[in-house]
């Protein structure tokens, strides 16, 4: 059964599971240099020009699987030798241009950038072209194409450019670590740093000198992942790995919905604090709006804080779809609650590093949160939860006018409007990934049905109201 969307993810997974396997066996540092050869054993290249380049790139991947470049604060990293230096010409006319008579391209271009040579073939004057793409849309032969790098295309906030050697570089002052480029680069040249060996060490040493419990906090988007098995089997798998228990981040979301709705009525205007990439985006690109960011911790940090308050020997590992959570976990106010962050991709690698076939396991249960906490995983869910929390608290004199932003482009538009005082809303729900967390870069698969899966999972919650779900926490 296919477990990933792309071969790049599969390759990344192979590296992660091999690194984790060696870490479990205490052989990682002995075999470090052999891992590329273990993964690419033969002499016939399957990915690059030769096996030597493949292995050279793999050793870079191993580095990232072990935490990456410590000097680079960003959790997203480019592997320069893996970057294929894709063309960056923007819109170009290809040899599919037939030199027709219609000249739709010329007519539609508002900047006069299109001219024709003696063979009637179109040319684009780069000094005039504004990259609007209108010509490409009207050409009957689809002869005009955008030669934009997939990474740059994926990065809607323009944090990626190229250096003199044409390799992709990330501007850390702009990057929000959402991972869009990680998922989109067809060569797998941009990766999120992994802390999988920290998790292995934590699980391995839990019964040695210092006794502690390792808690797995799972994001609600898990309901759309591991589709080849039952959710209950994933929970059993986590316990088989050595996690003490599994707690829904959605319970933290319930707590956040309650607190954030209260904060909203007090302040009158608020931007959500759940999506770390969105929060980072405001901090980096709209600093004037900083004061409006909700002061609540994210659902991940909120539930982890609660766990640590109930069990002082707790260590908490968050498992979700998100690369930006890895960055959030490094913030001083979150660091004390979260010991490591893993993606669903990494969890799959961790299962396989222990040869745990989750489809053979019994089904365990996962139920801590309400419907509303669970639907945080998809765009619009947080807004629904805040509306519900206002209702449950009997706050009727406050009219919630939410602006639900699905994806970072929508976030940008709303924030631009807000900074010019042109936004007719008192609450911005910002989700950097399209679709919400289910569109996250660390998901195993991204599918049409994911939203429906999240809603279904929400409806299965034992508790129907937010107040009921969090009543036990007081």
């Amino acid at each position: 059964m296919r477990k990933f969307d792309t071969k790049v993810q599969h390759l990344k997974y192979k590296v992660l599971s091999e690194v984790a396997r060696q870490a479990w066996n205490d052989t990682l540092y002995d075999n470090l240099l052999d891992i590329p050869k273990i993964l690419v054993p033969g002499k016939t290249p399957t990915m690059r020009c030769c096996v030597y380049k493949e292995r050279a790139i793999l050793s870079e991947r191993v580095k990232i699987a072990m935490g990456g470049d410590k000097e680079n604060p960003n959790v997203i990293e480019v592997i320069p030798i893996a970057c294929d230096e894709c063309p960056v010409g923007g819109f170009e006319v290809t040899n599919a241009c037939r030199g027709c008579l219609a000249h739709r391209c010329e007519d539609v271009c508002r900047f006069g950038a299109i001219s024709f040579d003696n063979n009637h073939v179109a040319h684009i004057d780069k000094s005039k072209c504004k990259e609007c793409g209108a010509c490409a849309k009207v050409c009957p032969y689809t002869a005009i194409v955008s030669r934009k790098r997939p990474c740059q295309n994926a990065c809607k906030i323009k944090a990626i450019s190229m250096n003199e050697s044409k390799e992709a570089i990330i501007d850390n002052d702009t990057c929000i670590s959402c991972g869009a480029c990680v998922y989109q680069c067809p060569f797998g040249a941009i990766m999120d740093k992994s802390y999988i060996i920290n998790v292995v060490d934590m699980l391995k040493n839990r019964n040695r000198d210092e006794k502690y419990n390792v808690y797995a906090v799972v994001a609600p988007s898990i309901s759309s992942q591991f589709t080849y098995a039952k959710l209950g089997q994933v929970i059993s798998g986590l316990k088989a790995l050595g996690f003490h228990t599994v707690v829904e981040a959605a319970l933290g979301a319930d707590m956040v919905a309650m607190a954030e709705s209260k904060e909203l009525t007090e302040k009158g205007f608020l931007t959500s604090s759940c999506c770390p990439a969105f929060v980072d985006y405001i901090n980096k690109s709209f600093p004037a709006l900083k004061e409006h960011i909700s002061h609540n911790l994210s659902p991940m940090a909120t539930i982890a804080k609660y766990i640590k308050e109930t069990d002082n020997a707790a260590k908490v590992v968050f498992i979700g779809p998100c690369t930006a959570k890895k960055a959030e976990a490094q913030k001083p106010e979150v660091k004390k609650y979260i010991d490591a962050v893993m993606t669903f991709e990494e969890l799959q690698a961790l299962f396989d590093s222990r040869d745990i076939e989750i489809t053979n396991l019994e089904e365990d249960v996962l139920d801590n949160a309400s419907y509303f906490g669970r639907i945080f995983a998809r765009s619009g869910g947080l807004t629904d939860a805040v509306a519900e929390a206002l209702k449950e608290q009997g706050i009727e004199d406050f009219e919630l006018k939410a602006c639900t932003c699905d994806g970072i482009e929508a976030c940008r538009v709303a924030l631009l409007k807000k900074s010019k005082n042109m936004l007719d809303a008192n609450f911005i729900e910002g989700m950097a990934c399209v679709g919400g967390c289910i569109g996250g870069a660390g998901c195993l698969t991204h599918g049409e049905k994911n939203k429906a899966e999240v809603d279904k999972y929400g409806n299965e919650a034992f508790e129907k109201s937010i107040a009921d779900a969090i009543s036990i926490l007081k």
Partner: protein, 79 residues
Amino acid sequence: MKVTVCIGSSCHLKGSRRVVEQLQYLIAENDLKEKVQLGGTFCMGKCQQGVCVTVDDNFFSLTPDTVDEFFNKEILAKV
């Protein structure tokens, strides 16, 4: 006295919320808020025996229907 109720998934599905709410009610009713510290925890590792409750270090297996009896015997009588 420290009373801890498991609010992990398994106990939650067996009604730990009702256990907690009933205990909260009984503690308030008997004016024991000063003396009894009620808290939650995720998983005591005895999911089969849920709803799991501990009073200091002693373990008890409850259901929402046995809360009153438990309260009278183990909390009210000993506090």
